[in-house]
Symmetry: C2
Subunit: 213 residues, 2 copies
């Protein structure tokens, strides 16, 4: 989290975000309608955000990994507009918003960091829109795998091998397609030698081909 902040600032920041919260797999960090008063940063594990549309249909709108921040959607109305659900046992830093806002007024490096994080979150959503609006089913799946791969490798994990934390149903919801189509697409990629897929375990065998899907 540091970078651009002096030691003194970091100390103040750590004081504010001292609280850590643990969320077990399947439990919610916050729910639609909950009062917004903190931002969160994933410390370990992974979290999905879900919007429930009238009629019960659910859309997974975000997949957050260690280091990712969430909760910004609640700023607008002071109320959270989605559910945040742990995909595995996870822990998050709790950042009380009012205090954090005040600190951002005092420290420009922190302010810049916050704005970049929010801008980043927006760009993530825009990418998601492009994925859903422009790509075919197999392209979407390929992009999700490559996306996860690069995000995991940036976090120090192997880029070509990982274990999905979400179900086929979650993937389908995230990608705007059914779980069956996700499953079929992965099987096809497997048979074509692009990946190795056995259940939740994925190994990417041919990055170039996957990018070219």
């Amino acid at each position: 989290m540091p970078e651009g902040l002096c030691a003194n600032d970091i100390a103040k920041l750590e004081n504010i975000i001292s609280a850590t919260r643990r969320v077990k797999r399947g439990e919610t960090l916050f729910r639609t309608g909950d009062r917004f008063d903190s931002l969160f940063a994933v410390r370990s594990g992974s979290i999905k955000t879900v919007v429930t549309h009238d009629g019960g249909r659910e859309q997974v709108t975000g997949l957050l990994l260690a280091g990712d921040a969430l909760g910004f959607e609640g700023i607008e109305e002071g109320v959270h507009t989605c559910d945040a659900i742990a995909l595995e046992d996870s822990s998050v830093c709790v950042v009380p918003y009012t205090l954090f806002e005040r600190m951002c007024r005092e420290t420009d490096a922190l302010q810049r960091r916050l704005h970049r994080m929010m801008s980043h979150a927006m760009n993530r959503e825009v990418n998601h829109v492009v994925r859903l609006g422009l790509l075919r089913a197999d392209e979407r799946v390929a992009r999700l795998l490559l996306d996860l791969s690069s995000r995991l490798s940036r976090r120090g994990y192997a880029s070509s091998e990982f274990t999905l934390r979400m179900t086929r149903d979650d993937m389908g919801s995230y990608l705007g397609m059914t779980l069956e189509t996700v499953s079929r697409t992965l099987s096809r990629f497997d048979k074509a030698g692009l990946i190795e897929a056995q259940g939740k375990f994925i190994r990417i065998r041919d990055f170039e081909a996957l990018r070219a899907v």
Copy 2:
């Protein structure tokens, strides 16, 4: 723009955002790759944001009306990540970002306002994701019409009658479908008495039925 700001603050703010820029229909306010140094607020007219995917396919990611702010996507990397194109002759306020950021540090009401605007922009994108991921073609068209209607009425225009500023192609791109499907859907809504659609002119005849599509 005021509310929550004292007269003195407003004067300072107006000093910063004094510049207005005119953009003719079809012209770009900024382009992908342009250096980011200002936020913009639509003063009059309307603007679309477009992301061009490798392969030339284009996705309309946003539709901005008078009062809407844009440009936040550029904060993250200091470079704009989409094109902003005027749908009609428009004018925008130019808000130099560094100055504005400084002012936000001095005035908490302004800071809160900025954060709410960014949060609002995020929620807009999330709604867009839900629309693309969860709704069928006719539901998407209905939602777009209702969305435009309510946004226009909030701006003091009639809610049941308006003239689209975009082409069928733009609508299709925004909604993740082809222009033909948009056209057919509007024709069907027209025949069913939900709306009256002649070219770019739209009159909503039955809000309830449109919401229930």
